[in-house]
């Protein structure tokens, strides 16, 4: 346990917003989170901002607009796990007693079109090896071999998440989709069709963290049920897997190397004193449909090889034993890199408070958020109430 509680959350919807700046979205989310936490100017002592494309001083611009600067403001980049990294740093500083209250937020406007990542060397681009969705496709194809995942399973992930997202006002796509529609969308890289991939987009999310010792004995009037940060862990990759998010040009035939997600999840469960069986609701990285299934196995929601069966059982759909991505996931929300991990945390805090309406997971008490991206970085956050 980290001894840290969630004092407030806020969000700017994910989507495409012409004329709205990265700063505008951050201000919107931060203002909402501070308001919910009852925190005004001077009420927090440090701020961590996750962003990948926001540019110089992204966090400062947001806090300058709000008239709240002077404290340390750190901009953190850890790919898809940027928000998770920011949360981990904030939680650590609170646990160290450096601060009593800390603001964590992420804000992002992803460039339109195919995104050119500085990750790859020029020769990799020239040789056609900087083909990001192809790596996802290769992972999906291997999942067919190791776990019996078919195209129908991949379509089913999209159908499930889009059904969840249909009742999320913060999602980009709030409309259900049929398996036939998914499979009729064009093939990007076999076996992945267009609708099996999430859309890079725009959005912001914010969380106010407070040291438990400094929390009032009873929650303030406006405050919903207390949500505790049980763990916030970031891990990078170990070498070995040719399909690791670290995107190496080669790997070993040894398949026993744990993924960054497994490293982070294992450490997070240990920090929280909990295990996969304790979870009531999960938000996990679903950059593409196969990635959600890989996450099931890497987090330990099922045994290795069991992801297709877990999906088929209906357990991970709303109404099932362990709903995954009740927010609709990235497949419904889209993915603004710096904000996506904190968007998951916002959703889970609202789930634990029972504020999610049609997509509420009844009686949820233990929640896990998972992001992983190029680097590699994997972030796992466990929340309880």
């Amino acid at each position: 346990m980290t001894g840290v509680v969630i004092a407030g959350v806020g969000m700017h919807p994910f989507g495409r917003f012409e004329g709205v700046t990265t700063t505008d979205m951050g201000v919107h989310a931060v203002r909402a989170a501070l308001h919910e936490a009852g925190v005004a100017r001077g009420g927090f002592q440090a701020a961590f901002c996750g962003t990948a494309y926001g540019g110089v001083a992204t966090g400062h611009k947001v806090l300058s607009r709000l008239g709240m600067t002077g404290m340390p403001i750190v901009d953190v980049e850890a790919g898809c796990a940027s928000g998770g990294a920011a949360l981990m740093l904030a939680a650590g500083a609170l646990a160290a007693g450096q601060y009593d209250t800390v603001l964590v937020f992420g804000t992002e406007k992803m460039p339109r079109g195919i995104i050119r990542s500085s990750f790859f060397d020029p020769w990799q681009e020239e040789a056609g090896l900087a083909a990001t969705p192809s790596f996802f496709a290769l992972r999906a194809q291997r999942l067919a071999v190791t776990s019996g995942v078919t195209k129908d399973h991949l379509a089913q992930v999209v159908v499930k998440n889009r059904r969840h997202g249909a009742s999320n006002p913060d999602a980009m796509f709030q409309k259900e989709i049929t398996p036939e529609e998914v499979l009729a969308s064009r093939v990007i890289c076999e076996p992945l069709h267009l609708f099996m991939l999430c859309s890079p987009n725009e959005g912001a999310a914010a969380v106010v963290l407070r040291r438990q010792a400094d929390s009032p004995g009873s929650p303030p009037p406006r405050s919903p049920p207390h949500v505790t940060l049980a763990a916030a862990v970031l891990r990078s990759h170990l070498p070995g897997s040719v399909l690791s998010e670290s995107t190496p040009m080669s790997g070993l035939t040894d398949d026993a190397v744990p993924s960054p997600t497994t490293l982070a999840a294992t450490a997070a469960f240990e920090e929280a004193g909990l295990g996969p069986a304790d979870l009531d609701v999960v938000e996990c990285q679903d950059t593409d449909a196969a990635r959600e299934l890989i996450s099931y196995e890497e987090i330990g929601l099922c045994a290795p090889g069991g992801s297709a069966a877990l999906l088929a059982s209906g357990d991970t759909a709303l109404g099932g034993r362990l709903p995954v991505n009740p927010s609709g996931g990235l497949l419904s929300k889209g993915e603004p890199l710096g904000a996506s991990a904190l968007g998951q945390v916002v959703e889970l805090v609202r789930q634990l408070r029972g504020q999610c309406g049609d997509r509420q997971v009844d009686g949820a008490r233990v929640a896990l958020s998972h992001t992983v991206g190029r680097g590699a970085n994997a972030g796992v956050v466990i929340l309880t109430r």
Binding site: E126, A127, L129, L138, Q141, C189, P239, M249, S250, L252
Partner: protein, 132 residues
Amino acid sequence: MRTMVQPGLFTDGEVPTLLGSRCTACGAHHFPRHDTCPYCATEDPVPVELAGSGTLWAWTAVTSPPPGYQGEIPYGFGIVELPEGIRIIARLTESDPAALAAGQPMELRIVALHADAEGNDVVTYAFAPGAP
């Protein structure tokens, strides 16, 4: 004239090879060459030429040009397992996923990507279906 997409990755002779390294401490093979073993951090891997044939482990096709790519589409994209115990990300000469099968023999080829400003063929490594 032919020019390599990047020097130091492969040889472009009659029998091309991939230029890798081998860790003298843990025995792991690397591609491209490393000056420190990523698996055990030992600092003296030795240069080796990797086997020119292997077996297909995973594959797909790229159907729209990725950033910075000026060659033709579609093209095959996959992973080939070499007898040294490593798996290599590579272009494949076969761009129809249905024409490929898990475990099939693959052979190293040097293929043209596009012509550069001086009219030279820029070439890179790729794997082609090989003799069984």
